[in-house]
């Protein structure tokens, strides 16, 4: 302790604002923390490992014959659907874990450090893209095992995967918001599932929309999840890019633009 301090250059003068560069750096450090935590407790990856495998098997064989005549024809419809559903459901965990994490003493230290306020949140969300990536890779692999051969080619499949991961990251801001304002982790889980179930099932993820009654079709068509699913299907199955992709990207951007600031503000108020 008697040795001279190893202070960073940025601290040689005092400033009340943290720069964008610092915010980015801090967020990556917090993401590194998230990854270390995943490595220490791999059981938190259960949902993103087993859900893709079990759901893909289940839905393909239950609905395959009824909806598309046979399993082979159903795969191009169901794989993008399952992919979106699994990955988006995975983003709920982000909110739950954030709540649990914030209840621990270590968040007091983060709050007392001169770091960008957004970093503990952004870092946690960034680390969770690992979970989405695992779910994405497993769902496509499972589809491949069952005989799914996406005609868009490997490049388009990768882009489709990245699109889903990016959207899940955007949506996870919503659940992060609940995570910050809710009192307990289980209430976060409850609220999030209540939102998520209608969103994923009242979409074209599992069943083509034109088989539904009119009033339901109306909702299914404006449901952002449907646009995401369609965008993924276009990319993976034919390698094409359409309006759905653009709408999806705009939607994701809007979610981040709204929820990132209010989440950070709620987080700071709690501080």
């Amino acid at each position: 302790m008697n040795k001279p301090a190893t202070m960073s250059v940025s601290k040689s003068h005092l400033s009340n604002k943290s720069s964008f560069k610092q915010a980015l750096r801090n967020s990556f450090t917090m993401a590194y923390r998230g990854i270390l935590k995943i490595r220490r407790t791999p059981e938190q990856l259960f949902d993103v490992t087993f859900q893709p495998i079990i759901f893909t098997l289940m839905f393909t064989y239950i609905f395959g014959g009824a909806i598309a005549g046979n399993v082979e024809n159903y795969l191009p419809i169901i794989i993008p659907g399952i992919l979106v559903q699994t990955v988006i459901t995975g983003s709920v965990v982000t909110g739950t874990q954030l709540r649990e994490d914030m209840d621990k003493g270590v968040f007091d230290r983060f709050k007392s450090l001169p770091i960008a306020r957004i970093a503990p949140l952004a870092g946690a969300l960034l680390a969770d893209t690992i979970r989405y990536t695992i779910a994405t890779v497993l769902t496509f692999s499972m589809g491949f095992v069952l005989g799914y051969r996406p005609e868009g080619g490997i490049g388009s499949v990768v882009i489709a995967g990245l699109l889903v991961i990016a959207c899940a990251w955007a949506i996870s801001w919503i659940f992060a918001f609940f995570g910050v304002i809710a009192r307990t982790a289980s209430s976060v889980q409850g609220i999030s599932m209540l939102i998520l179930f209608p969103l994923t099932f009242l979409s074209n993820a599992f069943v083509p929309a034109d088989t539904m009654p009119n009033w339901l079709q109306w909702f299914v068509k404006i449901n952002p999840i449907s646009h995401l699913v369609t965008a993924v299907r276009d990319l993976a199955n034919s390698g094409t890019v359409g309006w759905d992709l653009i709408i999806t990207l705009i939607g994701a951007a809007v979610i981040v633009a709204i929820f990132a600031p209010i989440t950070v503000r709620a987080y700071m108020r709690k501080a």
Binding site: M30, G105, K111
Partner: protein, 337 residues
């Protein structure tokens, strides 16, 4: 590298200046107008029973909680307005270890160092340095949850020292530690101040405040009820006291009368009986007292003289103090009149 602002800080008279801090939770006024002045380079103890408002006060000073009214200045910077500057000047060690239990000690320190702006290599070096200094080498690689509370506390303190902040808040740093670890903690805290830091610590233990603090503020029900150096506080309660243990309980009343007659003071008897406490203004008179007791044939089991302890100060100031010692405190106050 010595930074310019550090010199300014050392010249600042007070590390902490708080005025009229108030924090209400629902209709409970946890902190009800606290004023504090902590001189730079000192160890300042905030002493009080559970729920007195110590932690809430620290959290407001450390930018973790916004005061409802009043203001807190850290080296002249407003904790609410210039919070990001204040955070660069402080280290906080919470009541519950504020470290990541699922990570190892090294990982914890590296993450905090990186967040504080150290490069990858610097962070690694700093982490090793602190691990060695705080005797945490065995926790270096394994997750903390497998280790004792004492180790977590030490790591917590180590983490607060990464940036060598000029002001360190320690919220009940030794609660729940065994005596040996507690002594180690005390040594570390003393060393901190030698290296130029100011330390503000809260504690429920009078002995701890007595051992460490230069100045003490006694907090009760959200208010500062006494403030001063340890000696000032002790003097405020008066002289040393004489404790007599009587061998046969039935003699106690008799002995008490003799004590009051010879020393010309009020005395008190412990609730269990057998122990008489009386203020001792003049040591000379004790000889007379002992002779008188011998003449009456009263046998003593034990005799001792005690300087006023912070315990007595504390109980006197806070009135009832801790509930279980209520009866005793009344007796002792009677004895010290």
């Amino acid at each position: 590298m010595i930074n310019d602002y550090r010199k300014d800080l050392e010249n600042a008279k007070y590390a902490v200046e708080a005025q009229g801090l108030v924090k209400t939770f629902g209709d409970h006024r946890a902190v009800d107008g606290v004023d504090l002045k902590v001189p730079t380079g000192s160890i300042y103890g905030v002493l009080g029973p559970n729920g007195a408002g110590k932690t809430t006060t620290i959290r407001m000073l450390a930018t973790l909680l916004r005061p409802d009214s009043g203001e807190a200045k850290i080296f002249g910077y407003d904790a609410a307005k210039d919070s990001q500057i204040v955070r660069q000047l402080i280290g906080v060690t919470g009541q519950y270890a504020s470290v990541d239990e699922s990570l190892s000690a090294t990982e914890n320190l590296i993450i905090f160092s990186r967040l504080l702006g150290l490069s990858r290599q610097e962070a690694k070096r700093k982490a090793n340095e602190l691990l060695e200094e705080f005797g945490l080498m065995e926790a270096a690689k394994r997750p903390l949850k497998n280790f004792s509370g004492g180790m977590r506390r030490r790591l917590d303190l180590a983490a607060s020292l990464i940036a060598q902040p000029p002001l360190i808040f320690l919220d009940e740093p030794t609660t729940g530690l065994d005596p040996r670890t507690r002594n180690q903690m005390w040594d570390t805290i003393r060393r901190l101040v030698k290296s130029g830091s100011t330390v503000l610590l809260t504690t429920q233990y009078l002995q701890e405040a007595d051992e460490l603090a230069d100045r003490i503020a006694v907090i009760d029900r959200g208010r500062v009820v006494a403030e001063g150096t340890v000696n000032e506080l002790k003097e405020s309660i008066g002289t040393s006291s004489l404790h007599l243990s009587i061998q046969h309980n039935q003699d106690t009343q008799n002995a008490r009368m003799i004590v009051e007659r010879v020393l010309e003071v009020q005395s008190a008897v412990s609730p269990e009986g057998g122990m008489i406490t009386a203020p001792m203004a003049s040591a000379d008179r004790v000889t007379d007292l002992l002779v008188a007791l011998r003449e009456e044939g009263i046998q003593l089991a034990e005799l001792s003289v005690q300087k006023p302890s912070l315990d007595e100060v504390f109980l006197t100031i806070t009135g009832e103090g801790l509930n279980e010692s209520q009866a005793q405190s009344h007796d002792q106050r009677g004895g010290n009149n």
